[in-house]
Symmetry: D2
Subunit: 252 residues, 4 copies
């Protein structure tokens, strides 16, 4: 089983205060950190990383076609991801590949392409406290999580969150500054499963949190396709009648 952790990997390489802050928590990038942390908890999973500035955005066909679940972290360079790559990923997801969209990935092309909506929200970056509530305790992604847990310093993502109505809300967040948010939402798109999870940020050590890692790992297991993924666009086959047609069209 192959999980590919895709990271834009720009913030972590910036030569400024923001870049320094990122490198403090994620010296080799969020993707590298997540790979290490999750690998330690799930030795049965083969974690790989990919990032925007690698050839073919780190996602050549052989990588896409051998990925069972894709994690996506992006922020300032969503527009640099080629449309053709987005369409390729879209059809692999429809064919069964899982997609876990992290934090600012709500504005990525791939998430927008799967949702149809704008995926808009409001935000604030003052490092306030966030409390994440488990609102669907029976959902596989909620297994082992407490009633609620705290992220001490976070970027606030607030309602209204413009997503379709068929999302299953698994987590909701409370922020000290007065906002609320559907922070963990699960979707089905044809054979693929998609989970959006907002906690996680480049300058806070949120991905170091045990509960956050547990959510992501649960989501990976939930989104794993039960059968081989087919990346081809679902055909629109022309089919023969399966019952006898007694009143044929005289013109045909």
């Amino acid at each position: 089983m192959n999980v590919t952790i895709w990271n834009e990997f720009r913030h972590e390489r910036q030569q400024d205060k923001c870049g320094e802050a990122c490198r403090k928590h994620y010296p080799n990038g969020i993707h590298a950190y997540l790979k290490e942390a999750l690998s330690a908890k799930a030795p049965d999973i083969n974690f790989r990383t990919a990032s925007l500035d690698e050839p073919e955005c780190g996602l050549p066909d052989d990588v896409i076609n051998s990925t069972d679940v894709l994690l996506w972290w992006g922020h300032v360079a969503h527009h640099e991801v080629p449309d053709a790559l987005v369409q390729k990923l879209r059809f692999r997801i429809l064919g069964g590949m899982g997609l876990i969209v992290l934090h600012s990935g709500h504005c990525s092309k791939i998430f927008g392409a799967m949702m149809g909506t704008s995926c808009g929200l409001c935000w604030r970056e003052v490092g306030e406290k966030e409390r994440v509530w488990t609102v669907a305790p029976g959902h596989p992604i909620a297994q082992g999580l407490p009633e609620s847990f705290v992220v001490p310093h976070t970027e606030m993502y607030g309602e209204p969150f413009d997503i379709p109505d068929d999302g299953k809300v698994v987590f909701m967040s409370w922020y000290e500054g007065g906002n609320v948010f559907r922070s963990g939402v699960a979707f089905h798109r044809d054979l693929g499963k998609i989970f959006y999870f907002s906690p996680g940020h480049e300058t806070f050590p949120i991905y170091h949190d045990e509960n956050v890692q547990k959510v992501i790992l649960n989501a990976i297991r939930w989104a794993t396709p039960p059968a081989a993924v087919n990346s081809e666009r679902r055909p629109c086959p022309c089919v023969k009648p399966v019952e006898k047609i007694y009143t044929p069209n005289p013109a045909m």
Copy 2:
């Protein structure tokens, strides 16, 4: 109130047997026919037409920005609709413009962009009988429709139909050749309402049918935005706290 009926308008101009068959029922195109037929029933609505081979695909900004509900019929030239136009339409729909997708429009770029799924189905063109069932008799689009009605000769569109789970199924179809289909499905995407309706075809006089016209007109009324449409992408505003933050981030 402005309704724009967009038609690819290629089949009706073909110099072959298919073109002849189309012109028999729709001498000036499906769009022109629908405009005439619906105008007679809804004199309060200003119907306009647009087609692919007009400048800017018939949809320059002033037309888009004054359209309350857009009808979409396309088939062989979906790929010729520019991506930039699709994105413009997408954000107008999210801002409240209604979208009625007709028949082979299930494979249009705009429907796919709003749904996320492949919108795939299976099909057969032998002119068999279709029976359309009203399965949500309380829905506004079903008002005035009988329990079921017959389309004598139709192109079959069959399950599995790959659409998201938040669609409200208003009509389901039975085909003599043994298939079934969710033939009328209603969606919300942000402020916009979308209705897909499968009956309708270029070489059968299905849009001449009284019940089919009633469904389309009901759908137009249902999808009409209650307030002014804003075509801008929903912003992701940065907002101030609305409650006092007592535990500020020491690093900020």
Copy 3:
């Protein structure tokens, strides 16, 4: 158009501190207060009241059968509402009567009967601050409401809230004590519309709030049946074939 405001009307008549606190804000009961406040804003609606200790719980057949929208407030005496009355209300709702369930009505028999779930939640009564967020700004019940509004002192109702997944979340609440809640949720059940709204309590003057009244009035208008309500249980009719059966059962 007739709206019946049903109130358990027990707290307000208690001869104790709680009763006193209730009477301070609702001297003649929550139902009487709401009737007066809403009548002033909607002179086209005929508001009526009913309560548990009236004959037939205030809901004899002629009242039920002339009610277009029913408001329900109950708390300590849910179990005293007869099952037969609940079944009568249930079938009138399925036939089109609107139902607005207020605050502690989440545990009423009628709400449980319409939802199937336990409708459980967690709660706390320390009079903390609540902030109500509009999360579906395009929904009819949200019209005219601000991005968020404050209820200065409230009873907290918190997640997990055990309701079915087809509820459209219109409002979500933030509480100073750290909880979140889906505080306004809209459902369809056959021809009937149901709205649950949590803000509102017997000892806080929450129903005096302009925004709270606006939500309730919007919900009444949204839930008003477009056509005459039929209280009868939907029949399971035996029907004749509408297409010819060519392969009959030899045994029949």
Copy 4:
């Protein structure tokens, strides 16, 4: 793992032509037949039977409390199932017990209690042909099923089927007499999973069909609770604040 197959078991004991017809296919009752057929395919599951005329309707507390998945077949005696038993089952389902509702069980008290709607439909018993389509090929209940399969002689169940909108439609049926039906629909209610499946009838050997048995067995596996079931009604606990309240209510 314990699966309890509950059958009303009245038709099969009637001393008339209908009873004879039933006994031809189900000499010891539908429940006994299903137990035998499914046991042969799933030796890891402990199948038990229960019926209406046994003491406590065959469902004393120790049986209920050790059942992981309950199958329900009833028809003419739905009203004889005591309300208190229905409430007990309801809370066990909400606590995680799976429920598979078969054929005429759509009108059972327990299905109505879980859905809220009337669960009405239209029907016809002329033994016509039914074709069952797999419309959600990715769903666990659809695994191993063909694109469509035929039930040669069936009782027709037709739309409109009055169920809530959160049902995932896994199968849809075509009938020779012209009707269509959502014949396999999956629901979540709190921790419990519910599947309704219409094919199956007392006088046709539909439960002998390999595909029908496969659907039922898939549904049992899908509905099996991952953890121990708790039959208690979900409490509405009073909880302490998890965040400090800085603006307490002066009156408290």
